[in-house]
């Protein structure tokens, strides 16, 4: 049960379903009966999925090994950020995650054990200046050569710059649309 928003008003193309009205009952082995589902007529709108260009991003990753895996990964992040600052690069966002420590549950996961076997440093940047994002991708390799030791995971080469195609869900009144269906036969 997820990705539904308000369960009383789950909007589908056919109707607005009320998930609080569903009754579930065991109906034999590996069988569930769903009944009593109520809803309301569909809305007066179609959903429009609009895509637009929203800048560039790149993500760099390195894996640090025991001993002091987490401390080394943290030091590498600090070095990388200082380097980006000195280069005068500006981004809309710079995000550092430590995969194996906090990339899923954040601070809720608490501190990692002192003898952590390995951790992946994952740094992402996003912005409108493609050249700045490109420059960021060239700052990962130097960390391997001059940064904290016991580092690997760079065999894939320099991170790739990605163009961001962002998503804008919007609504349009149904009476603005004349739907036609054309069937093309390909011989």
């Amino acid at each position: 049960m997820y990705e539904m928003g308000d369960p009383v008003e789950y909007i589908t193309p056919d109707c607005i379903a009320d998930f609080t009205s569903i009754q579930l009952a065991q109906d034999g082995k590996d069988r569930v009966r769903a009944s009593g589902v109520r809803g309301r007529p569909a809305t007066d709108f179609y959903k429009v999925s609009v895509s637009f260009l929203a800048g560039y991003k790149a993500v760099g990753m390195l894996i640090y090994s025991w001993p002091d895996a987490y401390a080394k990964a943290q030091a590498a992040d600090k070095i990388l950020r200082a380097r980006l600052d000195r280069l005068g690069l500006h981004f809309d966002q710079v995000l550092t995650e430590f995969v194996g420590v906090n990339s899923t549950h954040g601070a809720l996961a608490g501190n990692p054990p002192a003898d952590l076997a390995e951790v992946q440093l994952r740094v992402g940047v996003r912005g409108n200046d493609r050249a700045a994002v490109e420059r960021f991708t060239k700052e990962i390799a130097p960390l391997i050569l001059t940064g904290p030791p016991g580092v690997t995971g760079f065999a894939g080469g320099r991170p790739k710059v990605e163009e961001i195609v962002a998503y804008w869900p919007a609504l349009i009144p149904k009476n603005e649309i004349n739907a036609t269906v054309e069937i093309l036969e390909v011989l």
Partner: protein, 117 residues
């Protein structure tokens, strides 16, 4: 006593743009009232501090023994804009199950729950 939600509920989560949607489903019918009482929108907002930048909304589904939470402004912009590993908020479910809630001792023993649980 304090009981961790993982002993009381199952959870699933996903994304709608920059909003994380977390469904919390009681493992047994009798646990639902505990979830309604203790796992409030305010508690969830506090639990996800530093992660959820916006409001938390809660919806009740007593027929399914479930609560549905919307955590707004939680996914670094959401979708392709997000730099997060978990841009779809799939692990907000298990992050919520880390929460401990207060259950009165007599209530806990009625449900067969102990502190270690």
């Amino acid at each position: 006593m304090k009981i961790q939600l993982t002993k009381l509920a199952h959870a699933r989560s996903g994304d709608k743009g920059d909003t994380a949607n977390v469904g919390l489903i009681a493992l047994r019918d009798e646990f639902y009232s505990l979830l309604v009482r203790e796992v409030t929108a305010a508690r969830v907002k506090e639990h996800f501090r530093g992660i959820c930048q916006g409001d938390v909304e809660r919806f009740e589904l007593p027929n399914l023994g479930a609560l549905n939470f919307l955590l707004h402004e939680s996914l670094g912009g959401g979708g392709t804009l997000s730099l997060m590993t978990d841009a779809q908020g799939k692990t907000f479910s298990t992050a919520l199950l880390r929460m401990h809630i207060e259950v009165a001792d007599d209530e806990a023993s009625k449900f067969g729950l102990t502190e270690q649980d």
